[in-house]
């Protein structure tokens, strides 16, 4: 009997998750299919200047749409390859995020790119907000999507505003793409 030989590019993986992970992700998807909140979010700067390894604020004054760039924790794994990020101040309840590589170029694709936040994580004072909405509606769904696509990524700590995964994402599949549709990169 001849054995079936899969093509070399055939890759299979078995993903095992808690059923709650799928249920919670599906519930989130159903409740988040209206993207009108993304209308009018500021577009990011195409690049930022890096001087002596430090990012320079491209918008030090008016119109004050974006907070100054900050360096991303290299071990956060949330947006791999991204070295710097910028976030808008709150618009309504939402905000935009842009990520940049080590040369200051805007990252526009894959999960390394920034994504729009239904609930902006920082307030107008530039500090984390005193609620968990960003965590519950923007961060946890992303992590569930990664897990449903076969990534063994968990959160380091649960307190407040988690921004660190236990390990990098290796797979970008249908759930991650669903997430990116509902939390789009706006360039």
């Amino acid at each position: 009997m001849a054995l079936y030989t899969p093509p070399l590019n055939f890759v299979s993986k078995v993903v095992v998750n808690s059923p709650m992970t799928y249920t919670n992700f599906a519930t989130w998807k159903a409740a988040n299919n209206n993207l009108s909140w993304t209308n009018g979010l500021p577009r990011p700067y195409e690049s930022i200047e890096i001087t002596n390894g430090e990012p320079q604020d491209p918008e030090p004054g008016a119109p004050n749409l974006w907070a100054p760039p900050t360096r991303i924790n290299p071990r956060s794994y949330m947006h791999h390859d991204a070295v710097f990020e910028m976030r808008t101040s709150i618009r309504g309840e939402s905000g935009n995020q842009a990520t940049y590589d080590d040369s200051g170029c805007l990252i526009m694709d894959t999960i390394a790119a920034g994504s729009a936040d239904r609930f902006a994580p920082i307030n107008r004072l530039g500090i984390a907000r005193w609620n968990t909405l960003h965590r519950d509606f923007d961060v946890y769904p992303f992590i569930r999507a990664l897990q449903l696509d076969g990534n063994a990524s968990g959160i380091v700590g649960l307190q407040g505003w988690p921004d660190t995964l236990t390990r990098p994402a290796l797979f970008q599949g249908e759930h991650t793409e669903s997430y990116r549709t509902l939390r789009p990169t706006i360039n």
């Binding site: 409740a31 004050n64 101040s89 004072l125 005193w130 609620n131 519950d136």
Partner: protein, 251 residues
Amino acid sequence: MRTIITLLLPFGVFFHCYAYEIPVGTNTLDVVFESDKLSSNVMNRIVSDIIVCRQAWSNSTVVTFSTGRPGGYINDLNVQVSPYGFLGAKFPQSVVTNSSGKLALFIPAELSTRYIEAFSFTNIHSNVYQQAILFVDRLQSPELANTSQEKVRDLVFSPGVTESQYIASAYEILTDIQRQTYYYPSVLGFWKANDGEAASSHTNLFVLIPQSSKHPHAPHQLFDVMPAIWHDSKWKLWQPGAAEPSGKTEP
């Protein structure tokens, strides 16, 4: 949904039985303690914290008693998402039969010892402990919405934020605070920071306040904790300051 399977225990081990009950849906579990040297104060606090967990998990909790383990076990999807996780302690999950023949949650000596150690701190700082309870009452009060802009700085603290910035952001801060449900802190939740950004000229005494989101579309009720800091002889919700608060206003 809750599923409870009554089980016959394979062995008859009886532990110290007191008049404590944990509500689990429409049922209750008794509570038994491995240690027989606990004060009523310690037992009260342990049971209170467990009830807070059950209260916050609410109806989303799925509880089963597995017959696969000697004595039974609470298999609860939310057990790992509880204030206990933040406090470096494990939520008690073992179920035994007490001397009355009822199912009872078993409190191991390891956990009660941690409470005894924590009490040595809250006994010394009884005022700040009581103030933490009152602070949670205030956060939960409908009167919170009437807090004046000038008084918002009595509720929150972040290094580097000026009085005028608190006033300018008062509405936003109050709105954020009111989006959470707060629960009384555990005696395990108090600590003094030895160093770092909090150990400044202000204070270094903290408490973790359990909380969960009120948002109706939250996929399921998650516990979290928010640290509060003892500052100006008051508890205030704490956030580490931005390295350089932007001070930017909403466009």
